[in-house]
Symmetry: C2
Subunit: 227 residues, 2 copies
DNA sequence: AAGGTATTAATTGTCGACAATTTAAACTTA
DNA sequence: TAAGTTTAAATTGTCGACAATTAATACCTT
């Protein structure tokens, strides 16, 4: 009989399902930034009790998508230039570190697979010029892989579990696309090349620049949106 | 009638109390690393229901003091050289960043207050040579202040709320004291001087070295403890 | 007696209801 | 009418009980 992989025995609970659903809705902007989260309302909407809902809210707070105050309740976070800046300051440091570690720990096979993924992104991107979603997902995928390659569980947790939903929220709600798409691809390629050459220092530097450029790009959008 | 300060209206809930109590017990080693957390047992022990207890467990997971698996339960984390290394890799990056930001954002008054705190540490330390607790608390205090001075909420959250309990757990359970106490003081002084001179780059460098030295110190203890 | 299976016990996940607190509304008073 | 106070409604925090899942025990088979 087929042997089920050991770690895949992570049971999916009701709290998980509602978490992912609300998470998606907040990132997509379907639940307005700054709006209040009503536990009874959400419980009705997802047809479950408040217990698993509160578990989900605890995790939403953990990834900075909502803010909770005792006896008062939860609100969806609001986006701001300051918030974006704070977020990207940390990304620069930690993803730079991730690059150094990835250059140290990623296997040749993992690097090759990521290289193929990049080529796939290029193909997809050429076909659908200016389409934002794929670039978005692709970019996230690239950063995800590097971070996973760092082999540092705390680093992975902070970046992938706690900060990345907020990063995506900024990019999705500001409708990021435009001419930076192709340049981002080149930057990804350069970073990966440095990692393939086991040059962690260079990969670190390039990643910091890449993130800084990405931040400036989003800040530009934020400014020209007036707010 | 006297006006209560606005932000101090944060209600203390039952979940908060039990959280702090368990947090302290884990950091102090009163609850053995690797041991299983029994919800019914803890609920009886603290004389409350499982609802606030589970809220507390969610937050304990957030600061990496326990690990939870769905439908299985929670275990207290185990300490390891690898875990310490992972933790300090992140501290080096983020507290270095905190120094750069603190040099930018801390007011002269805040810097002066921290300077006085350091002198207080020196006095206390001279009186109680080799006493670890005060140095421990003092060191934590120093790092706390720098981090708070960074003015970056995400940075503050990651370091002070999510990672520092684990840092303290390593130091407490390994009984850190010994000759590094006085050298750590000098390093603190140098870092603060750099910040006072608004030399963020130097403060960054010195902080990274300080943390690296601290890590090596703890690793030495871990090794000579055989495990 | 060893290995595997079925049964039992214990633990976690979820539910509905109540208590404590906060927010909104109604009311009073100047 | 505006401000402050009192009352009512709604929301969050907590509780005890049940369902679903996991861990432990007893049982059977070879």
């Amino acid at each position: 009989m087929s042997e089920v992989s050991y770690n895949s025995r992570l049971a999916i609970t009701a709290a998980d399902r509602v978490l992912h659903e609300i998470q998606r809705a907040i990132v997509a902007g379907e639940i307005t930034p700054g709006s209040k989260i009503s536990e009874p309302e959400l419980a009705r909407r997802f047809d479950l009790s408040r217990a698993p809902l509160r578990e989900a809210l605890a995790r939403l707070e953990r990834c900075h998508l909502i803010e909770r105050l005792p006896n008062i309740g939860a609100r969806v976070v609001t986006l701001s230039i300051a918030g974006l800046s704070w977020l990207y300051q940390i990304r620069e440091e930690l993803e730079g570190l991730a690059c150094r570690l990835a250059a140290q720990h990623m296997t040749d096979q993992q690097i090759n697979e990521l290289c193929q993924l990049l080529d796939l992104h290029l193909a997809t991107q050429r076909v659908r010029e200016g389409e934002s979603y794929y670039q978005e997902a692709g970019d996230v995928d690239f950063h995800y892989r590097i971070i996973q390659g760092s082999n540092n569980p705390y680093l992975i947790n902070i970046l992938c579990d706690e900060l990345y939903y907020l990063v995506r929220m900024y990019r999705v709600q500001l409708g990021m696309n435009g001419p930076r798409v192709s340049r981002a691809f080149d930057e990804h390629k350069a970073i990966l090349t440095a990692i393939a050459n086991r040059d962690g220092e260079l990969a670190d530097l390039l990643m910091r620049r890449h993130i800084a450029a990405s931040r400036l790009n989003i800040e530009k959008h934020l400014h020209q949106l007036g707010k």
